[in-house]
Symmetry: C2
Subunit: 312 residues, 2 copies
């Protein structure tokens, strides 16, 4: 039996999985991400964890064909420029990790890799091209066309979080601009809108009980129950997102837009909230782009990493 | 000697050219577009014109390898869905034209084909990926990545004219939405802005002499001379375009954005006007996307059609 390793490197944890060459996941595990000393131990930890896992499972390294990995930064030719979440500057992930673990390594941006996972394993190639967006702390995204990642000139293909969607915003985004998509459609953005609406009015709201500890999940939970402020926050956020996604479809015109990340756990409720603005924005190019919640949850990255490593 | 025919089918004229297989243009001519009877004669006229040209030049049809053509509508698999400018409904261009002219035919959307022309012949493949936009009566566009047209699921890849860029617009675009890029950045849009600013103030302006006959070219000419209203029109238009192009770079992240079409004849003046908003919008993904005026002018389409026909 031959195997491939899929790795999804995040700022808090590294998700790892072992796959048979036909794509069946035989094991899934996580290790913490050690960000001390500018994350200098991260790749060593990954290599060691793979090695230990293979030994425990009685698999010889010669049976492992390759390792795929998603990295939280813009990548070009195996090198990541800067990963703020890991404390990294420029790191040649492919060269360093293959030396450390003795395997052929394939690496790409984590959002691109997750998109590849949903394209291949989540939706079983039923769409020829997709934009997958990830709504989490930020808003990430990846473009896949006929099984290929479109990573772009500097690796920012599909990185739609800092598209400017509002020109009257006065609050500054972490990127230095005002009115970025991430300020409205990320978990952080939805929480921001709720706190703003709570402070602007005296309307009764269950959210007031949470005070500053409010999370995006709280806002969605209360919106589903009908809370006025929570609903206004979700409606504003998803209206802006729906228009932005329609705009993006005018550029890349994918067959489907897949919505993933923590916020997307609300599934159909979320899609229903996005759809009116999305459909309105699509008038000219027609309503032929599907909108669907992601299917692989937090495992999209490792599935994508497996496909990245095996589709070469 | 072997040849390839390049055709750029527009609403007013059909531009045609004969190329040697190595890409040298040996002849360039145009015929009027006959839009009578829902444009039913257009493809016959093209086939006849090719035939006559070959006879006049003493070229046997066996020496012609193929014909490429750009069509003003969204295309998928050789079929165009609808061409309002030609009066066409659904037309299988590839099948009909190849029957009529006895040549192997390759067809794609005109903006995509023009983009391919600039990518290959205008810029000699010095950029790995480009977005080319055409500022004319409308705003069209095409995406090229490593020599391939990214035409999208329904053929609207790069068709950015109806991206919504303003949410406070009250005037309705021809597509039925309000605030589309085309309402500001097309020749029609720039003229619209100038007429609006003229009617809203009593500021002295050379444009008042033109009255309703004002054209986009007049607005640019007067802006270059320093006319206040003309400058305000150009500045507003190009500010909106600059931000929109930066947003698009967050989706597709091309190495260069090429600006073509009638409006682009203003060259460096135009680029200077677009650049501040473009650079501001690019903060997060870096200023590594070039902005350049197109090089082939009205011949981009026929060059692209030649490359479409020969790159298979």
């Amino acid at each position: 039996m031959r195997y491939t390793v899929g790795v999804d490197l995040g700022g808090t944890a590294v998700k790892m999985a072992l796959f048979t060459l036909s794509g069946d996941m035989t094991d899934y595990w996580t290790i913490p991400t050690d960000r001390t000393n500018n994350g200098e131990n991260i790749l060593t930890d990954i290599a060691r964890s793979v090695s230990v896992k293979l030994t425990l499972m009685g698999i010889d390294k010669k049976q492992v064909t390759s390792l795929g990995i998603g990295i939280p930064g813009a990548m070009k030719r195996g090198v990541v420029d800067k990963c703020i979440n890991l404390g990294w500057g420029s790191v040649n992930v492919v060269s360093e990790l293959s030396t450390l673990c003795g395997l052929k390594v394939y690496a790409d941006n984590d959002a691109n890799v997750a998109a590849l996972g949903e394209y291949k394993a989540g939706f079983n190639e039923s769409y020829k091209s997709i934009l997958m967006i990830t709504l989490g702390t930020g808003v990430g995204g990846g473009l896949i066309e006929e099984g290929r990642i479109i990573s772009g000139h500097t690796g920012y293909g599909g990185e739609i979080g800092h598209m400017r969607v509002r020109y009257d915003e006065t609050e500054v985004c972490k990127c230095g601009k005002c009115g970025c998509l991430e300020q409205y459609a990320s978990a952080t953005g939805i929480r921001r809108l709720a706190l703003k609406y709570l402070s602007e009015s005296d309307t009764k709201s269950a959210l007031r009980l949470y005070a500053d500890d409010i999370t995006c999940k709280d806002v969605f939970d209360e919106a589903i129950k009908g809370d006025e402020i929570a609903l206004k926050s979700v409606d504003t956020s998803m209206n802006i997102l729906g228009h932005a996604l329609a705009n993006i479809c005018h550029v890349f015109n994918p067959e489907a837009v897949i919505i993933g990340g923590g916020v997307a756990k609300s599934g159909d409720f979320l899609i229903e909230k996005i759809k009116p603005a999305f459909d309105k924005g699509m008038i000219y190019i027609g309503g032929q782009t599907s909108l669907a919640p992601a299917r692989l949850g937090e495992q999209a990255g490792v599935y994508g990493a497996y496909h990245l490593a095996t589709s070469h």
